[in-house]
Amino acid sequence: MNRKKSIELLDLMYRIRFFEERTMKLFREGLIVGALHHYIGEEAIAVGACATAEEDDYVVSTHRGHGHCIAKGADLKRMMAELMGRETGYSKARGGSMHIFSIEEGLLGGNGIVGGGLPIALGSALSGQYRDSGQVTLCFFAEGAAARGTFHESLNLASLWKLPVVYICENNLWAATTYINYSLPIENIGDRASAYGIPGKVIDGNDVEKVYDTVDEAVKRARAGKGPTLIECKSFRHHPHCMVIPDTRPQDEVMEWKKKDPIPRFEKRLLGKKVITKTEMEKIRGKVNNMLDEAEEFGRKSSVPGVETVAEGLWA
C-alpha cells in the first residue's frame, strides 16, 4: 500500500472514530435520539474493505452502519444532520442512524433488520452483473446475522449465479447481549463458505491492511466474474450494543480488545515505517475534528422537517 493510500485510510479511521464520539456526545445532550449503534473498535473493517471499492460500487450496510458510510465517502455533514433529525440529512430525517442512503455514492442503506441487507445485496450485485458494468457489492453484516436464514439463501444464490458480491462478516463476538457461543456452534463463520462452494477467509479485522488485501482480492475475483467470497473479520466493539443498553460483557474482555484497537495499531505501524510523522498525524486529527465541528454546526443550524412535508418521499 502506498503512502497516500495509507494516510487516506488512517484519515478515514479517524473520521469514523471521531464521528462516533461526537454522536455520543450529541446523544447525551439530547440532540440525537433513537437507536444509536457505534462502530468504535471496528473501523479497520469498513475502511479496509471500502478502500478497495470504486465510487460506483455498492455497499449494503447494517444497523451499525456509520463506519460503512464514512468509509465509502459519505459526507459527514449530511450524515450528522440525518442523525440529528434534520431535513438536510441524507434521508431527510426519515431514516435516522440506521437508514442512511445515498444511491449516487453507492450507499444502499443501513438496515434495522438484522440480516435484512443480505438479500438486498444479491439485487445490487445482480444489477452490476446484468449491466456488465463491473460494479461490485460489498455486503456487510455481523456474526449475529449469520444465524439468520437470509444468510443461507443469499450465499447460496450468490454462488449459483456467480454474483459480484463480497460478504464481509464483522464478527465482534457479541450480538446485543448474546455471546457468540449462544449463536454459533462452530469456530469460524468464514468456514461456512464451503457450504456454498465459495472461498472463505477468516482474518484479523483490526488489521486494516490485512482487511484491505483480503477484500481487494475478493473484489477482483468478483469483478472478474468469478463470484462471491465470504470474509470473516474478527473484531470487537468498544462500547455497549447501543446507547440505551448497558455493557454486559466481562470488563477484562473489553480491556483486552481495547489493547488491540485498530487505530493506534495502524498509527504505530505507519510511524514505524516512517510513512507518517506524529505531527502529520496530529494535523489530520485536527482536520477531522474541524470537519466534525462543522458537521455538528451544520446539523444544529439545519431545520427539522416541517410536519406538512411528512408524506414527501413516500411515492415515486
Binding site: S91, G123, S154, A316
Partner: protein, 322 residues
C-alpha cells in the same frame, strides 16, 4: 379483437414489457424452461434467455431481496411468488424493505418492483395454499395493491405495474387463469386508482374483487328484473378509487362488499369504513361485507365452498339488504 386467456394476457404483458425495456427481468421458481407452474412465463425463457428469466432455488427471501436490491439500482424486476401463501416466507423483504426503503431514504431511491402471486381457493389445496392476503398489503404503507379480475385488466394492469416506480403487489386468482375473453390486438394499459362500473344498477352497490366480480355479476344477472345491482370492480386497492364507489352508493344507498379473504379485518371493512365516513347520510341501511369465514381453508371441497362466498350467498345478502 381476438380471444385470450387471463394467462395469455399476463404472458403477453410480460413479453411486451420485456421487449420495451431491457431493464425488466423476471425472477422466481420454476419460471425457466417450464414457464412457471401455471404457465404465465411460457416461452419467455426461450425468447429472453437466462439473464432475464431467472429461475431460482426455493428461497423466497432471496427472490424478493434480489428484486429489491435490483430495483434500487436501476432494474425493473418482476418477482413471482408461486402462491401468495409463500409470501409469509419473505414478509420482511416485502414489508420492511420494499415498502419502506424509498421513504426511509428520503426519496433518495426508487423501487420499481412488481411482486406477482396468485391466490384464492377452489382447488382443494387446503389452508397453506388457499389464502387471500391483500388486506395485509393494503394495511402496509408504501405498497400498491392490484387485483385484476378480467383478461383485459390482467394485461393492462400488469403493464402499468411494471412501469410504476413503486413496489406493486399484483395478485392473480388461479381460478381465473383459464378464463377467456375477446380483447383488442396491440398494447393497452389500465390505470391504477380507477374503478370500473361493471354493471349499472340502482338498488344496491356491490363492490367485489378478483374472482368475486364474476360471482357478483352472476348474482346480479340472476336477480335482474327484481333487484337492480350496480357492480363495481376497484381493480386496485391501493390506490383505491373511493370516489367511484361513493358516487354509486349515493345513488343506490346500499353497499355490499364481496371478497374471498376472511371478512374479519379484510379490505371490505376498510371500504365500509370509508363509505360510512364519507356518505353516511346517503345510506338507507347498514353496509355489509360478505367475505370468507375466519377458518383456515379446509381441504374437503364442500367445506372449502362453505368458507368462501358463493353466488347464492351474494343473492341471500342482497335480498336481506334491499
Amino acid at each position: 379483437m381476438r380471444e385470450l386467456t387471463y394467462l395469455d394476457a399476463l404472458n403477453e404483458a410480460l413479453r411486451e414489457e420485456m421487449e420495451r425495456d431491457e431493464n425488466v427481468f423476471l425472477i422466481g421458481e420454476d419460471i425457466g424452461s417450464f414457464g412457471g407452474v401455471f404457465g404465465v412465463e411460457k416461452g419467455l425463457w426461450e425468447k429472453f434467455g437466462e439473464k432475464r428469466v431467472r429461475q431460482t432455488p426455493i428461497s423466497e427471501d432471496a427472490i424478493v431481496g434480489t428484486a429489491v436490491g435490483a430495483a434500487m439500482t436501476g432494474l425493473r424486476p418482476v418477482a413471482e411468488i408461486m402462491y401468495i401463501d409463500f409470501i409469509t416466507c419473505c414478509m420482511d423483504q416485502v414489508v420492511n424493505q420494499a415498502a419502506k426503503l424509498r421513504y426511509m431514504s428520503g426519496g433518495n431511491l426508487k423501487m420499481p418492483l412488481v411482486i406477482r402471486a396468485q391466490g384464492g381457493s377452489g382447488t382443494a389445496e387446503a389452508a397453506q395454499h388457499s389464502q387471500s392476503l391483500e388486506a395485509w398489503f393494503v394495511h402496509t404503507p408504501g405498497l400498491k395493491v392490484v387485483m385484476p379480475a378480467t383478461v383485459y385488466d390482467a394485461k393492462g394492469l400488469l403493464k402499468t405495474a411494471i412501469r410504476d416506480d413503486n413496489p406493486v403487489i399484483f395478485l392473480e386468482h388461479r381460478l381465473l387463469y383459464n378464463m377467456k375473453d375477446n380483447v383488442p390486438e396491440g398494447e393497452w394499459t389500465v390505470p391504477f386508482g380507477k374503478a370500473e362500473v361493471k354493471q349499472e344498477g340502482k338498488d344496491i352497490t356491490i363492490v367485489a374483487t378478483s374472482l368475486m366480480i364474476h360471482k357478483a355479476l352472476e348474482a346480479a344477472k340472476e336477480l335482474a328484473g327484481n333487484i337492480s345491482i350496480e357492480v363495481i370492480d376497484p381493480k386496485t386497492l391501493v390506490p383505491l378509487d373511493i370516489d367511484t364507489i361513493l358516487e354509486s352508493v349515493k345513488k343506490t344507498s346500499r353497499l355490499l362488499v364481496v371478497h374471498e379473504a376472511p371478512t374479519i379485518a379484510g379490505v371490505g371493512a376498510e371500504i365500509v369504513r370509508q363509505v360510512v365516513e364519507k356518505a353516511f347520510d346517503y345510506l338507507d341501511g347498514a353496509p355489509r361485507v360478505l367475505g370468507g369465514k375466519s377458518i383456515p381453508m379446509p381441504f374437503a371441497p364442500t367445506l372449502e365452498k362453505a368458507c368462501t362466498p358463493q353466488k347464492e350467498d351474494i343473492i341471500k345478502f342482497v335480498k336481506e339488504m334491499v
